[in-house]
């Protein structure tokens, strides 16, 4: 009998189908949830994108890296710098498009991944962990050292490349002409949460320019850095923990003020813009799409020859070498792939935040990627997805519990990290496969039991 799944191209089609179904489902969900949930979806998808790389690097190739947050910074900064400069000056007649900046970000990640992988491939566990720890601290430090290029401690404000005509839920279809009053998203926006006074007035140009401008993404449609500081101003520097205001280099981002502080203003932006445009929904669709494309690559690699090679080198370098595999080459390739993924995630993160800065890409981000992938399950891509959801949901859960119990702020703020730390230790000791690994083991054991019972 011919195994259909072994036919040439079957893997491509089946993986594409899996990814497409997930993508379509998430996009559908994104249209039906309120903006805050969309924002969380965007973050979870962004984390998962980076953690697909962690699964390959830590899980499959067995290299513990603490530097992937810094690799995300590479992607974020490359995206920011290319978009800021390119938006104003077309290169060789090419108008800027966010896709180009994301591709550049990916190449930046590949280049840095090659360099780190080349040094790191020669090293055993703790040496590599220490090197990547240094990278997690050192790369953001480089950003602060050259403020004229990287914006220093305050970072760089980005103009988010909004799509022309705004992002409306698919159910409403794109009714650009009727844009001024779209009912559904408005009602869904958490009105009580929106501090209206705070919302900047500069939203106006965005509204007028984009309305009826068609679907083309042209430079004119984007508020460029000079003409409209709108997007930049929404996120005042105060919203971001700079090194002084928050010396917590190790604090996981969930704890930092980042996500929660942005929400209200961002929601206000959507409201005041008075169109169907809901920023969070657009962010989520961007992040989900990027995660699905990266997830497709990851799925192909992990469930193919390359995944087998990474696992072989992790299991036994000597046996892999005599089988014709270069251990160093395999480790470097894992680094390059994971840093490409991280860079794309970083570019998405930059667009979600409309900002890049050393505070957002610190050691805390690197550590949270490690935490997420270890808790979710470091050996398979599903673990990265679980990890992404966990990194977003767990702090909220803890905050909710803490809020109900009326714990003081210092306890509440630190509770998620305490839980993360203890969970990581417990998972390593009791269930090295993480949540997904335990679920798989559990079902396997149940199946075996039911089989033996028969």
């Amino acid at each position: 009998m011919v195994n259909l799944l072994r036919l040439p191209g079957a893997r491509f089609l089946s993986h594409l189908a899996i990814v497409f179904v997930i993508w379509a489902a998430l996009m559908r969900i994104n249209d039906g949830i309120d903006p805050l949930m969309s924002y969380y979806l965007a973050l979870a998808a962004m984390y998962a994108t980076a953690m697909f790389g962690m699964v390959i690097l830590v899980g499959l190739s067995g290299q513990v890296s603490l530097g992937n947050g810094a690799l995300m910074a590479i992607g974020g900064y490359v995206f920011a710098l290319t978009s800021l400069n390119w938006q104003t000056v077309p290169i060789l007649g090419w108008q800027w498009n966010p896709i180009w900046s994301m591709i550049f970000a990916g190449f930046g990640g590949i280049a840095v991944g090659l360099l780190i992988g080349w040094i790191g491939a020669r090293l055993r566990g703790p040496y590599l962990a220490g090197l990547t720890l240094g990278i997690a601290v050192g790369i953001p430090a480089i950003a602060t050292r050259f403020p004229e290029i990287f914006g220093g401690e305050t970072g760089l404000m980005l103009t988010v490349p909004y799509p022309a005509g705004g992002y409306a839920p698919a159910a409403e279809t794109v009714t650009i002409d009727e844009a001024p009053l779209a009912e559904v998203p408005l009602e869904q926006a958490p009105l009580d949460e929106v501090p209206l006074e705070q919302a900047p007035l500069e939203q106006a140009p965005l509204d007028t320019e984009t309305a009826g401008a068609g679907d083309m993404l042209t430079a004119d449609n984007f508020p460029s850095a000079e003409s409209s500081p709108a997007a930049g101003d929404m996120l005042t520097a105060d919203n971001f923990p700079s090194a002084e205001s928050s010396p917590s280099a190790l604090a996981l981002p969930s704890e930092s003020a980042l996500p929660n502080d942005i929400d209200p203003t961002a929601a206000g932006d959507a409201l005041l813009a008075g169109s169907a445009f809901v920023l969070e929904r657009w962010q989520a669709s961007l992040a989900v799409t990027a995660a699905c494309i990266i997830g497709f690559f990851a799925l192909n690699l992990v469930r193919g020859r390359q995944g087998r090679i990474w696992r072989a080198v992790r299991d036994d370098e000597v046996a892999a070498a005599v089988s014709g595999i270069s251990p160093a080459g395999s480790k470097i390739s894992a680094f390059v792939v994971s840093s490409f993924f991280a860079a794309i995630a970083g570019a998405v993160f930059a667009q979600i935040l409309s900002y890049v800065g050393p505070g957002a890409f610190g050691l805390g981000l690197s550590l949270s990627l490690l935490v997420g992938v270890v808790l979710g399950g470091r050996a398979s891509l599903g673990g990265a997805i679980i990890g992404g959801v966990l990194l977003v949901a767990l702090p909220q859960l803890v905050f909710n519990i803490a809020g109900d119990r009326g714990w003081p702020a210092n306890v509440t703020d630190n509770a998620p990290n305490l839980v993360y730390g203890l969970l990581v230790v417990l998972v390593v000791l009791i269930a090295p496969g993480g949540i997904l690994g335990s679920l798989k083991d559990g079902t396997r054991r149940l199946l075996a039991k039911s089989r033996s019972a028969k």
């Binding site: 491509f12 690699l301 299991d315 005599v322 089988s323 014709g324």
Partner: protein, 262 residues
Amino acid sequence: MKYFLPLTDPILEMVDISVKLSGLQILDSVSIGVPQGTVTGLIGPNGAGKTTVFNVISGFITADSGYLKVDGKKQKHVQPHHLTKKGIARTLQGVGLFPTMSALENVMIGGSSQVRSGIIAQALAMPWTDVEQNRLRAQSMAVLGELNIADAANRLPGELPYPIQKRVALARALVSDPQVLLLDEPAGGISAADISELADLIRSWVPKRTVLLVEHHMELVMEVCDLIWVLDAGKVIAAGTPDEVRRNPAVLAAYLGEDGAT
């Protein structure tokens, strides 16, 4: 006296190889040749340097002096993972299988050097990568079948009996269709019946393949080898046909010396 016997048509040659590791002279100007199409044995008491010879040939250890010739060509910068490309495959002491992979996957890893498609084609799951994998899978299944262990294909090494694991390891070396096979103690830890089967198997490969065999099990060595090199304390002390080696007083002394010491 460089060689103990005239070598015709050596496919693999070590010339004056010396290796010093943390102050100890492990190999002292060792010259060994493996004639094409033969089973050549490498024996000696423990610590004689047999595995070091394999490690030098595979490139895990760089010799301090001397050189290596494969098919008459002098080798520079030997790297372990280039071995299979030169038509040489090696088994490891014990089994050295990848514990998290099925027997079939283990064997497929052995065919890595035949795969051409790069990482970008892999990431995009291009159809030709499937063609390659299917070919490799079929080859691997065929080798498993030749060794009568096809039904072990989807089991993890840990679930298989030790002699079967050793065969999987053998299959992983064979799948690259090597001209030269370096076998490191293939009879270690397996039963007498399995050993006689192994002897038949090894003889069935020649003269198509050439075998270099490191083995403690003397009966096997005497039965299958055309030519035997004897190492003691990092030096070649004897060489010849099994009968010649058996009668050589120096060999006897080396082994008795070891017995006397333990």
